[in-house]
Structures are given as structure tokens and as C-alpha cells.
Symmetry: D2
Subunit: 358 residues, 4 copies
């Protein structure tokens, strides 16, 4: 019902199917007076665009965003920003064979059972194409955050077994865009690209993890109890297609340590900080001024170029030959999506925090 | 702001500080006509109660819930169910020394900076005592779910390095309450208890993971895009104190597999099912009728019985000696909290799903 | 912030300025499986269209709605319905003189002070042009309601001093579209048209009231306490531009009667009904199965074709000569807007009522 | 479902039935650092209390509010403020005869049909007793508003045909509490009291209107399009029991005037103001700095001390003899309720306005 809207004071509502006329959204709550750098927004969107490198689907979508409202003479007016991206290269014939087929680990089956009706072309609403709208909104949120010097940076830190062993604070984040897999460590990136190519040749796919860092956060973002900063961030990340896990700070590795090892001791170093940052910048659900960092796990892309067994809508066993144009590994293109959702969450909490005190 | 309310159609608002007069809540949206088994609710609450075993804090709270409205002659009336638990054994003197002290990895610092004012007694609003209200509401949600035969079961599957190696479908879930650590495998449970005792003697603490399984779910729960079943579940779990990670189905281990290995093939076995369940019962954010299972990582309890360095509100370095009564490992008592949040999420989606079709 | 979204389960978010690129919206929550009669939607929109008669502004907007998502092969899919209406005949030069002028009883001044930035062309976001999006969404809601035989009908019952003296149940509602003022009583309509013409010649404007009737409502719509059926309806109506009052059932005239005269006695006449309907179909905020009827008061259009004193943004006194193309009386075009908002409220409550009982 | 919660950033959730254990609520969003004057809150509540004068029901409820959380050392902490009022003098035996009876113009019938289950004692949830919680929350909102010098004042301006002919700006608002009917004009008040007494003797009841004025409002409160200041105020007022109409500024009388008469001309008089205030302080849904004023119509109390015909749950015609203790005219006690809802709306918009600009 309300599943297509995200946020409280900064609120994104999106619409659109993979192979319909257009996808788009309404972003309500960007404060008035923000300079909107349209080139920046388009550049962000281009990072998610299909066809940007040999590692991404060859679907050729220009993904040109058209803004319809809420911006006047280059500045936000405080009214909702409507935007739209027309679907151009939507070869929906590629999907006619899926009308009565349930692809393994896709949402064909669940959408059909939930709604009784289904736009089967390319996954319809459940397609990751929808995330382009998140990137548009996220780019606007980033522009707002940049006014407060808050910086959000994500990168690929694992693809299949190939893993970047260093943490966010040990690497040069400016190198992320230096290679098409968006891993800021060149040797690791090369290994990742090699693995993607090999896997793609076998018609198979890969998963991985993305790490996201938020720097220069003010103290005090996040709300008590249910809307903790990390809870909302987990919500945001797990709403991205193909994600299977979320961890913040020391995350799942916290289990291996005792409290005496994991506690972040407070120190006074030109202001109160913590000596370590196992908490990941959040304590009691509220930012403490240290960098927030978290990992998001993505499963391998479900569409493989191998024949698979499945079932059709009559319940008959069938063999499915995959068609269409798909990524062997979605991680590089997911980097701007992770950043965008992080930006939306952070900006919303920033606005909410204005009401903390009288 | 809105941080103390959870849910859309089934909506819980809670209030209360650890050492204030009372904690409580309002649960709005329980449909009319549900028999309310008050003994069941109290029994659920007792599972979370301090002082229930040698493994839990000795704070002696009776935790008797008092229902104030919304139930008439044993049946829900469709109006909000107000409830309250008075704080009885609140030795707030234990905390007077914390008035100007920031305990490591607690929320003292962040709450003070966010709000400027802080009820420093036992963590105030940020205390895990608040979760008792979630258990009351969760028990009511469970009663609703049981009308639809939906069953929610959580258990401890890791404490420190001691791990239950079998999965939810390989163990006898009826054994969970057989031991005070709520691990349904006796030998593992014994190891866990030994480890907790040893760690407690050192004045240290432990973390771990809880696994939760939801069975007999109808197909079609969860909403597209932002309010996916797993996204909302992640939100719910990460809102519980001390959680650091969430993963559903194959979770973080998905990374090590290829798409061809991880895809869940559909079969027709008295209805459409999947041969494997790496998806964890959710595809495209919507339940597919298979069991939902997920893991939640908890960091070790932050309050340790060792002296720690910290900083006071003047920014001066201090040495903190822990007082108060605390668990060395919170996992066993967190089991009913995980179940309760899972029940609230599931019941809310159940009600939302009534609007799916005309 | 959240001001551009309306509804809980059926949720409309709109965007767009009077003289921007487009206006549009996202309607989320239309259940799947509804046949979408596009001609009906356009016909509804045409009732609100400028230039439809001599009594409306000559701005020539085709107001052709383009649906972008959520409908597949003529049927709703349960996913959000995005739509857009391009602004075509937007002579924004007409408004350049208003850049630093505050028109009396318009929102120029308040928007500028609230946001610091203002799209001054034709009122920008505050223009009644935005209501076209409500009519599109309202038409979709009407299609949903018609499945349940619920009928919503509004008509003009007063313009200036000319008043339709009979009540909704004494008139033939099928005659509404017989004349351009949408008053179902021909002699009264003629008087109204005469008055509008006379007033327009003087460069002046008129207000009036619209009555709306909802028939065949199920018993039980509306939620206790804050979201009463009539409270939400008042909210909806008072959100329409230029409205100044709302009354349901006996409304303000209730004051003149005693309880013994105004109480609606229950009778059994093939089901429990009330002998009279002073309540207006709602008791305790919940529909009782009788027709709902209410009146909405509209002030005269603020833009008059006479010179007016005002103040510019520097605080200097100026004389304002009105330009642009405007209605002398907005009531006839407001009829579909009132119906649309009534349909959105009713449909939302219909969906909410599915959760009333277990 | 969500019907028992009101507000966005300042959010009140209430619970409780007329003759249950207690009524109460949770007010979330009061910013931290506000001095909470508990005596003021209780004094506000006393204005609504039954039994305060010969003109109100003799039900003897002390209505002592107990605060349970969110206040520490006399100051708000930014966490939810839970509160409770125990029902003491609840003679529910008075109502046992109503178990299967539908009182005319009460909510007995609609609640039973909606929910299938009904707490029939004294109207249960639909009783106006619930409004005591609004007064507690409203008093807290008033304390917040007083920090910004915003003042909210309501008074009775009509009971039956007896009407205060002067407007809010022509009367001395400090006289309101001088008489038990809360009409700030002594001769009119005396007439009203006489009429109430006469009507009560006949076993009959009276309605009327309350006028509310909000002074010293900042410019810019209210949100575009759906959440206009006046739309939300109408929602709030129409959610109060027994209200039948709402009008702001010139309201329904706007109809009798032309635009040239009704437009509020801007002038510069130590800041931009309007010469007249037909708009009622709101233009385009946003406050313009002039006083906001509006009227709320209340129908006569439905419980009369005369025998009435009705129907029982079997559909049989019965004669109903009223018992219980009831007001002949609820207007004087409704004054603090109107003020409270106005305060909640205003304070919420005040907090929302903090996000208007970057």
C-alpha cells in the first residue's frame, strides 16, 4: 500500500515499471533555497546507467532525467520536486515468454500471487530499474547534505571471494571512480574484473558487499527507540533489490569480541570523540560525530545465462532459457544506489533533528 | 520526533524511562474480536524479565503488565490497547554518579548532545528496559497471528565463539525453553552457559546471534519497493538495543556462491514451492510461502564490571567503575524481543495485505 | 513538508506549479484488478478544465492526462499509478509584473515569507491548477468505489445570494450536468448564470457553496477519535483552494434546534436506519449507512478585474491592475474537485475498514 | 486503525474508554528543554472536568493526570510524555441497559456494526471522556507555544439562539473565565445560563458555537496543498465529539460578498499586514501573521432526559428512558478542548516550519 514512499520530512514517492512508459518520482521536503546542480544529478544517475561499461547490461538507456516542478531559476522552492525518466530501449518482446513463467529467485511468483495481476515485462515494478529514481532523489539529498559538509561515499569491497581487506579509513576513497568496478584498490579491482569476466563467460553471476561511509555528521541524528539511525539505514539498504544483509560498525564480527575489547572509549581530542569506532558512529541509535560506516550484502544476480528448471503459472515443470540483457555482477552499479539511500536517510534525520530542542 | 511509534495499520507507540514511574505503550490496530489471553502475554513478558535465572541481571522487576483499555470481557474491541508496567525496583541512586559521565558505547553522550537534557538514571529512555513494551505488544500480535496459524520462533544460535552449527530446519524448536540460554541444542547450550559464567567472573560480557523463523506465512506479505518484508524486518531488528547486523536467508554467505548455486528453483509439491530456501522466504520483498528465517547480531553488553577510561561532560578524562546490575550476555532475554518485533512486522503486513486486491 | 501527500492506504502525492513544465502525481494503493476506464478519467478532468464554457477562464489548457505506470492491459496492478499533465498554454509573461507584488488574498506573500523563494508565475504551487491532479486521482477512486456501488455527487447549491432551497434528497441529481453552473435546478441555474455575467462585467467575483452527497455507503467507514469520517472529509475539503467553511448534516443550523428535535431516531425499515438524517450519515465519526451530505463554502475568487491597493516586497504601497485569465466564479469547476476529494477520503476509509475485524 | 493518533512531528496517541480502568496518551515530539508546569496542565484539565458547575454533568471525576515519563526534574527530555487519568466514578451499572440498545445520534450502532464488539458502558471509546487526554496534550502544546508568545483563546459565542454579536477583536478575552458558560460578555452569558437552565428542566439539550482566536502567530505556518493550516485545523475541530461545522475567517458569510469586498488589502504598518482580516489569518493555507480565528458548531447533546423511540440490536422498536449524568449543553466544557486541539495543530506546524528553508 504505502510501500512506494520513503521518509518522514524528506519524502520520496516513486512510480514506474521496467518496461512501462516511464519511471519517476516526487521528492517532497527539500528545503527552499538550495541550488540544484542538474549536471551533478545527471552525473550521479549516469553512474547507475546500464551500458556504462563492459561489466554492465547492454540495455541502452540514456536515463535522462526530466525535472517537472519544484525548481525555479535553479533553486529549490520548497515545493515537491517531480521528475521522470522515460523508458526508451525497452524491448519488451524479450519478456513475452515470461508471461506465465516464474523465474527462480525473482519476484514473478510473489507479485502474481499478491496482486493477481502482473506486468511481466522485465520484472515490472520489481525490476531494479526502479532504483534510478532513488539515485535522482539521492543526488538531491546529497546537494542538501553538502551544505552541511556531510559526505557520503560507497565502494565495492567484495565480489565473490575477492575482498578488499582494508577498512574505509585505510584507503584512498578518491580512487573509487578510477575503475569500472568501483573498488578503490587497483590490484583488488583487477582481480574482481577478471572474476566477473570469467563468471560471465560461464553464464553465471556474482554477489558481493558494498561499504558505505558517512563523514562529517553532526552529533544527534537518529531518533530514539524505533527510528534509530542504524535501523532506518538498515531499512533503506534492505529495500534495495538483491540485498541480503546489513551490518554497521563491527557488525557480525562483534560476536567474536568481549565487551572490554569492543567498547569505544571516549577521549577528548579537540572535542569528545571515541578512540575506536566499533560502534560505527552510532550509539543508542544516534550519531556520535564519528564516521558512520556499514556493509551491505548483495546476492548474485538471479538472472543467469544457463538453463534452469522452474514452474509455470499452471504449476507445470518447465525449463527456462534466460534471455534479456543482464549484469553478471550488479555491485558496481549498486554503489550510487547505496549512496543515494544513505543520503535520503541522513538528510531526513538532519531535518528531523531541527525539532530536538526548544 | 516520530521515533517512538512503529507500524502502519498495527501501530505501537511506547513511552517510559528505565528509572521513571512507568513504561508503557499504546497498541492501535488490533482488529476487534480477538480473544486476549492475558496469561500468555504475561508469560511472554516473563521470558524477558530480569532476574529469571543466574544468567540475567539481578534487578528484581516483577514486570507485571496492566492493561488499561481496548479489551472488553476478554476480547479486543478494535480500539487502542493501552498498557503500563510500573518500575518498582529502580535503585536510581546507583546511577547518580553517571549524571555527568559518558559510559563507553552507551547512549549517554549522544542523548545529551541531541537533547541537551538527559534522564541519566540507568540510561533513561535509551535503556533496554523499554523493550518490555515491545514484548507486550508482540504477544498481542502473536495472538492475532495464531488465528492464521502463523508461528514465530527465535532462539540463540551463537554466543561469542560458541555456535549452533545446524540450521532452523534441522533442529527441534520445541527445545528452546529447556535451558536458560534458549539454545535448542543441549550440548551447545551447556557450552554457552559455561562461557557466560567464565566471562561474567572476569567482569566481561558477550555478544552473539539470534535466529528467528516464521512459519506458515501466507504468500504475498510485504509491500513493493521501500517497505519490503525484509526491509521492514531489518528496521525492526536494528531498532533493538545492541544489535549490529541483520541478514535474511543466505545473508552474508550469499557472496560466496554463484547465481546458479543460490537460485531457489520452483517446484510443484502440492503447490508451488522452492526446492531450496536461500531467499529466506522472501522474493522481491514479498513472502513466497516458504519459512522466513533471519539472523540478528548483538554486540556484547556495553556495561562491564571492569574499570574503563572515559570522559565526563566537562571533557575531563575519568576512570569509570561500573556499578548497577547487568547481564553478562543479553542474548537469552533478547529472544522474546526478537520474536515480538517479528510478530509486529508480520501482523502489520498481514493487515496491509487485505488491501492488495479489489 | 509532508503537505503534498494525502491519505493512508490510498495515498496521493502531487507535484507541479501553475506555469511550470507539468503537474502530476502518484496514486499509491489502488488495489490490483480494477479496470481503468481512461475515457472516464479524462471526462472527469474535462469537467474541471478551463475554457469549458463562457463562465470559466479562457486559459486554453487541453488538460490531457498521461498515465505513466501502474496500469497494465487496462487493469490496475497494485503498484503506484504515476500521471502527468503538461502545462501548455502557460503565458507566464502575464505574471512577470507579479515578481515583487503581493496580490490581495492570494498566497504570494505567505509563500514568499515561508520559503524565501517563490515561483511567482500564476501563483506557482498555490494555484488552483494543482487541483487537476486531485481530479485524476479522484476519478480513479470513483472507479474503485463504483465496484461497491458507492456514488458521489456534488452540485452548486449557492452562488452569491442565489440559493437552491431544496435539499439533496428533494432534487433530481441527474440534472447537474444540464447547465454550465452545475446546479440541478434550472430556474436557479439561470439566475446564477445571470448573476455571474453581471458580476463579471463589473470586473468582480462571486463565492458560493457546493453540496456533496455520498450514497450507498457501507456502515462502518471512519476511524475512532482523530480520523473520524467527517473530520477527514473536512480536512479534504478545506484543503481545496478558496474554501472557508465545512458543515455536515444539519451543520451550523444544528444550533437552532434542541436535542429532542435533532436526534435521529432509529427505525427498522428493512434494516436499521434513522428516520431523519440530521447527522449527515455519520455518528461518532463512523458512517451509519444513511447518505452522507455536506456543504463547502467558497469565498469569491481573489483575482478581480478592478484596480486594488497592495504592497510590494519592499513594503511600498502600489496599485495593482489585474491581468491574466480568471473565473468570475469558480464554483462550477470546483464541483469535480469536491467530488474527487470526497472519493479519495471514502476509498481510503473503505480500504482501512478491511482491517476492522479479525 | 491509525485513528487514535494525531500529528506529524508533535504526535498524540490516546487510549481509553469512558468506563474502563483509565484513559491516557503518549505525546511524542515535545522538544527537549521545556519547563513543564504541572499545575498549569491540571488547571487546564479542570476546565474540562465534569461537575465543575451546575451546568455540567454531576459525574464526579477528579480527573487527576499522572505523568509517567518524558519529564525529568521538571523539564521535557525530548522523549515521549506518557500520561494517564484513572476513571474513578464510573458507575457502569448505569449503562447495563444499553448493552443491546442503540441510543439515537450516539455511536452505539456504528461502533457495533464496525467492530462487531462494543464496550457499551457510557459510549466506551466514543465517549467525550476521551477528550480529557487532548486537554492534557494541548496544555503541553500551549506551554511550548508560550515560549514563542503564541496565544490561543476560545470562548462560547452562541448557545441555541443566544449569540454574542461582537467579534473576537471587539471583546475583552480576559473575561472568559468570569462566568461558568465561558462567554466573555456578561449580559449574553446570563441569557445563556438562563436558557440552559430552562432547557435542562425540560430534559432537553442545546448546541452552539465556539470561537477560537490564535494570536502572535509567525508568518509561514501551514504546508502547501493538502496540509494547509486551516485544513488541519478543520480536521482537528471536526474530530471533537458533537461538532457539525467549521468555518475560518469570513467563513460561510463569505458567500454574500463580492471579491472586491472580501479581499484583504495589504498595507505596511510597521511590517506588512492586511487592512481587514476576512481571510482569518491564513492565505493559501499558510499563516500571514494576522490573528487566526474560526468558529466550530456543536450540535445539542444527544442524551436527553426524555423518552425516545429507538431500536435494539435485534431490530425491535423500543422506548428509551435516559439515565446517566449528562450536560444539557456541552459548550462551556468544550472550550478547553477546542483550545487544546488548536494548540496541537499550531505547535506541530511550528515544528514543521523549521524545515522550510536551508
Amino acid at each position: 500500500m504505502a510501500g512506494n514512499t520513503f521518509g518522514t520530512l524528506l519524502r520520496l514517492s516513486t512510480f514506474g515499471e521496467s518496461h512501462g512508459i516511464a519511471i519517476g518520482g516526487v521528492l517532497d521536503g527539500i528545503p527552499a533555497g538550495l541550488n540544484i546542480d542538474l549536471d551533478f544529478v545527471q552525473a550521479e544517475l549516469n553512474k547507475r546507467r546500464p551500458g556504462q561499461s563492459q561489466f554492465t547490461t547492454s540495455r541502452n538507456e540514456e536515463d535522462k532525467v526530466e525535472f517537472l516542478s519544484g525548481i525555479f531559476e535553479g533553486v529549490s522552492t520548497g515545493t515537491p520536486i517531480g521528475f521522470m525518466i522515460r523508458n526508451k530501449d525497452s524491448k519488451s518482446n524479450d519478456y513475452s515468454h515470461l508471461q506465465s513463467t516464474y523465474r527462480p529467485s525473482h519476484a514473478d511468483f510473489t507479485y502474481e500471487k499478491k496482486f493477481g495481476v502482473r506486468d511481466y515485462r522485465g520484472g515490472g515494478r520489481s525490476s531494479a530499474r526502479e532504483t534510478a529514481c532513488r539515485v535522482v532523489a539521492g543526488a538531491l539529498a546529497k546537494l542538501l547534505l553538502s551544505k552541511y559538509n556531510i559526505q557520503i561515499t560507497a565502494f565495492v569491497n567484495q565480489i565473490g571471494p575477492i575482498r578488499l581487506t582494508r577498512n574505509y579509513n585505510e584507503i584512498d576513497l578518491s580512487l573509487i571512480e578510477n575503475n569500472p568496478v568501483r573498488c578503490p584498490d587497483e590490484p583488488t579491482a583487477l582481480q574482481m574484473m577478471k572474476l566477473i569476466n570469467e563468471t560471465k563467460e560461464k553464464g553465471d553471476t556474482l554477489g558481493g558487499t558494498i561499504q558505505c561511509v558517512i563523514q562529517n555528521l553532526p552529533i544527534g541524528l537518529g531518533e530514539p527507540v524505533f527510528d534509530k539511525f542504524d535501523a532506518m539505514m538498515a531499512h533503506a539498504m534492505m529495500s534495495i533489490n538483491a540485498t541480503k544483509g546489513f551490518e554497521i560498525g563491527s557488525g557480525f564480527s562483534s560476536i567474536d569480541k568481549n565487551g572490554s575489547q569492543l567498547n569505544d572509549v571516549f577521549i577528548n581530542d579537540n572535542g569528545i570523540k571515541t578512540k575506536t569506532n566499533h560502534s560505527g558512529g552510532v550509539q543508542g541509535g544516534i550519531t556520535n560525530g564519528m564516521p558512520v560506516y556499514f556493509n551491505v550484502a548483495f546476492k548474485p544476480v538471479a538472472t543467469i545465462m544457463q538453463s534452469q528448471e522452474s514452474v509455470n503459472s499452471k504449476g507445470e515443470t518447465i525449463t527456462l532459457e534466460s534471455k534479456g540483457r543482464h549484469d553478471a555482477c550488479v555491485l558496481p552499479r549498486a554503489v550510487p544506489i547505496v549512496e543515494s539511500m544513505a543520503a535520503l536517510v541522513t538528510a531526513d534525520f538532519l531535518l528531523l533533528s531541527r525539532g530536538n530542542k526548544i
